[in-house]
């Protein structure tokens, strides 16, 4: 991992398994809400997307993702932890490029916080993509 929010290449099933164990020792967590974004093999102008190459302004990603995490925790008091991870570099169709996990006491704050974090990731993280065919 390049920093705690960015990883080079796809977010592999193995990495996801590891991320899922975070917070397993917190028996006050009743709800784990997860969003995984994957690269689609969309057709663009008659060509099939084979992969996406992501680039990022790394230092600003850290600052903004810190801000998103803080905003989520203030807005949803029942939230216990927030994990945000995004790929940089090449991620092939079918592979994951985004992982968001929110643990909370109960489902209501957790599911809403996860969706909210997702919207903020799209809106605020300085990350760009380039389709590879």
């Amino acid at each position: 991992m390049k920093n705690r929010y960015l990883v080079r290449g796809p977010i592999t099933p193995l990495l996801i398994s590891e991320l899922l164990t975070l917070g397993n020792d917190d028996a006050g967590t009743g709800a784990v809400s997860i969003f995984i974004g994957r690269v689609r093999d969309d057709e663009i102008d008659g060509k099939r997307v084979n992969a996406i190459e992501y680039s990022a302004y790394d230092e600003m990603v850290v600052k903004e993702a810190d801000g998103i995490t803080g905003t989520i925790k203030s807005a949803f008091s029942d939230v216990r932890s927030v994990i945000i991870l995004h790929s940089t570099g090449v991620v092939r169709a079918g592979e994951a490029s985004l992982f968001i996990m929110v643990t909370s006491g109960h489902r209501d704050h957790g599911t809403r916080a996860c969706r909210h974090a997702l919207e903020m990731v799209k809106e605020r993280l300085p990350i760009w993509k380039k389709e590879l065919f």
Partner: protein, 78 residues
């Protein structure tokens, strides 16, 4: 005349300028924007925002020596 700043290019602004970064001299961000569009006319055709020292700018701002300005086309993460 003006402050020496580091300008970082991202996304399509990299392809448009052919550079990852460069050193420039500018009075303020309005002046910088004007210079950039003069130097890279294609940059005038893509929408971009600027960040000053990692802080997204909502309005034009003065510059100081060694400031870092990032040229940010619309974000596409997720």
């Amino acid at each position: 005349m003006g402050e020496e700043i580091r300008v970082l290019y991202f996304g399509t602004a990299r392809e448009t300028t052919g550079k990852n970064e460069e050193l420039l001299t500018a009075e303020d961000t309005a002046d910088l924007r004007h210079q950039l569009i003069q130097k890279y006319p294609a940059l005038g055709k893509i929408p971009f925002r600027m960040a000053l020292n990692k802080e997204l700018l909502k309005a034009d701002a003065p510059l100081n020596n060694n400031d870092i300005i990032a040229i940010l086309p619309p974000f596409q993460g997720g």
